[in-house]
Structure formats: structure tokens, C-alpha cells
Symmetry: C2
Subunit: 222 residues, 2 copies
Amino acid sequence: MDTVAQSSIISATQTAYSALRQMIVTGELRPGEKLKIENLKERLETGASPIREALSLLVSDQLVERLDQRGFRAAPVSHQNFSEILMLRCALEDMALRQSIAHADDAWEETIVLAHHRMARVDPADIPVFEDLHKTFHMAMLANCASPILLRYCSQLYDLNVRYRYLAGRSQNYGSRDVPGEHREILEAAAARNADLASSRLLSHYQQTGEFLRQLSEVPGS
Amino acid sequence: MDTVAQSSIISATQTAYSALRQMIVTGELRPGEKLKIENLKERLETGASPIREALSLLVSDQLVERLDQRGFRAAPVSHQNFSEILMLRCALEDMALRQSIAHADDAWEETIVLAHHRMARVDPADIPVFEDLHKTFHMAMLANCASPILLRYCSQLYDLNVRYRYLAGRSQNYGSRDVPGEHREILEAAAARNADLASSRLLSHYQQTGEFLRQLSEVPGS
DNA sequence: ACAATAATTAATATCGATATTTTAAGGAAG
DNA sequence: CTTCCTTAAAATATCGATATTAATTATTGT
């Protein structure tokens, strides 16, 4: 069969999953777009089975919808959906952050300082690198909450939100906002174990971004 | 190929998904148990592809775990996991119920009254029927919250919790508790649009069940 | 011309077979 | 007797092909 290819250690399904996820989050696959297996087989250079399985995984991440016997499509977007994501993120991350701080120890404090440092030193214009470190930073803040399911939900909602950021167009600068400063202040409050302050800063951070995105025109599905 | 079989309207994947879900929730497939495709092919009388896809869907429901290249297994259980589910359910259902009541209208009120009636009139000893109506009742209370993602999380957590009820053994009666009475009181508070009272009754309902289950011995995985 | 229906095309869902990888077993050496 | 390596068995992951189902186009009758 196929000579080398995905030989290595990682399965074709995982490869397809990561690639498709990336393509949907960045908007390369548009909201509502029909996801044809044949089509994706070529683009990802793999068989139908791994793609089908990857799409099934993405269904539960709410990035893909399965239509009865009519295959898959990228999840559609809407103002309503965006507002819901923002609202839920605030509620769940508030919960996670407070628990995280409640269990704070030196090791965790060092983790978040490091995650912040790594994010702060790269150029935010290098989107893929920055986005990755940005998520790592935010998740590190929550990671100490000892609630894997909650973390999973936060991670899912984070990705759904990032998708809207990409769809709104990444060339936007954030006006008069000092986003790095906001990050630093959230970090400082968390490191100081001040849950109320850290949470209020985090939620404000999200809501400002939410307000900003809300002003941009919605990207229509299909 | 196979003559009749899954002819009808519903796909083999959906059939396998429902069946496997049921088998895991009821404990027919034990926590931590290896889920061998060959094995399941026989039991469900279908091919490997639908089973594989169904298992992928269950992964995101957190009822199944995927191990690198070593297939699937039923999600393990633990006290910690149970506590987390209970905690999250209380937090998320509190949120959903309050929003549901905030949007209350006559149609919703009628829905929950009806759902309660249908649950109340069947014999709780008829487990499959009662469980179905019980979930329908609880979800109907939340359904008015206009937040599909939140509802989905609540539904997931509900199922994860039901699994623990099955694993703890369904023959248990709930001691001195008047569970039907608790349901009625939750319904009444919600119908009266008293969010604080309804929520406090709902959470107490869950926490009592939680305490009860916590006393039973944990079912070991594999 | 237009609706309804029939033929055609395209795409999905599923099967059966195969290559890869993991697990288990069996020896040989230390 | 234990450890490591080799070999055999089992199971997974994936492919290629096919039957089903949905979408599209052509056709016919009014």
C-alpha cells in the first residue's frame, strides 16, 4: 500500500482531526460549508475512514454538524451562538479560575508565569505561534482547578471563540486596548491569589473582546 | 450485501451509537472494559465502520476513552470523577434553570407540567421507561434557557451521573426520601417562577442523591 | 410555459480485506 | 530465576470497492 506517509507514531485519524480542526477554526473551511469526503480525501491525502472518524470527533467539539444521511458540514455561525459562547465562557472560566486559585501552590504559580512569559515575548503578528501560546496561557490559569471536565468545556469554548476571532478578520488591531497589559494584570492578580480581582479582570478581558467582535459584521454561513 | 437489516431510515452508526451508549450507561459494559471491535461487531450485528464511528462519538460524550493505537475502552470511574460530575451538574443546571425560569411563558409551563405528569404516572420499578421520562422531565425544566450548548453540557452530565446510579445498583431504595415529592416541589417552584426556590430544591435533590451514592462502594474499573 | 415525475449523476454509508501495531508467549542468555 | 530478545497471535487502523441514498437534470403531460 501507500509507502511512507503517516508511518510515524501518530495515526491518520489524529492527523486528519488536527488538520480539519485547524481549517475550521481559522475559517479556511467556511461556516456552513459542506464537507465532502472525496474533497477532503484529496486535500489531506488520506482515506475516507480517518476523515470520517475525525469529523465524528469534531461533531462533539461543535465545530462540525452531521446531517442525517447527508454527510457533514462546518458548524454555522450566528450572533446568537457567539453571545452564548461568550456568556458560557465567562461563567465557566470564572468557576475554573476561582478553583484554580483556591488550590494555588508555588508550582502552579511558576507555570502561569512561564506561560505568560512565553506568550509575551513572541510577536502577536505571528498568528499561529501566538494563538497557540495564548491558549496555553489562558488554559494554564485554569489548569489548577482539579476538574478535568470543566477544563475540557473551557477548552472547547475557547476554540469556538477563537473561530469567531478568525472569522472577524485578524488584521484588526484592538483599537485603544492594551491587550498585553490586560494579560499581565490577570496574571498578577492570579499569582497574588486574589480570586475576585483575577476573575473580574479575566471576565472584563473577554467581554471587551466580545464587544469588539460584535461590532464587526457577521460572517454568513454558506 | 446484507438483505434487510438497518434498511429503514436510521443509519447503522446511529443504531450502534444508541446501543453502545445504553450499554455503557447501564453498566452492561463495565468501566475500564476494553471495547474490542470484533467483539462488538458480533453483539451489534454490524460492521466495523459504524462501530468505530459510534465509539468516536462516545469519546466526546466522555463515556469512552481512546487509547493511542490501542483501541477504545469504556471510561473508568472514580470517586473523584463522580464528585466532579455532581459539582458541575449543580453549577450548570442552576444556571440553566434560572435562565429557563427567566424566560418562562405559558407554553413552557405546560411542557414541564406534562413532562412531570408522564414521569409520575409510571412505575419507577420499570427502569428503562422511568429513566427515559425522568431525564425528559429534568431536561424540560432547563430547556427554556435558550442556550443550546449549556443544555448539551447538562445532558452529558446527566448521562454521566445516571451511569453512576446504575453502577451503584438500582435495587436500592432511597431510604426515607420521598423522591416523587421532591420532583413535585421542584416543578411547583419552577411553575411559580420562583427561581431561587426552584434552584435550591433542584440542587438539594441532586446533592441528596449524590450523598446516597457516595455511601455505596465504588465499582472498580476493569 | 410549468409542475410533476422519471432518469441520471453524485455523494454518503458501509462492507470486506489487508497491512501495521500491540500484546502475549516462548526461549536463550546472563 | 530473572531479564531480554525473538517469534507468534491478536487486534487495530486503514484502504479500496460497492450498495444506498440524496441531489440534479432531463422529460413528459397538462
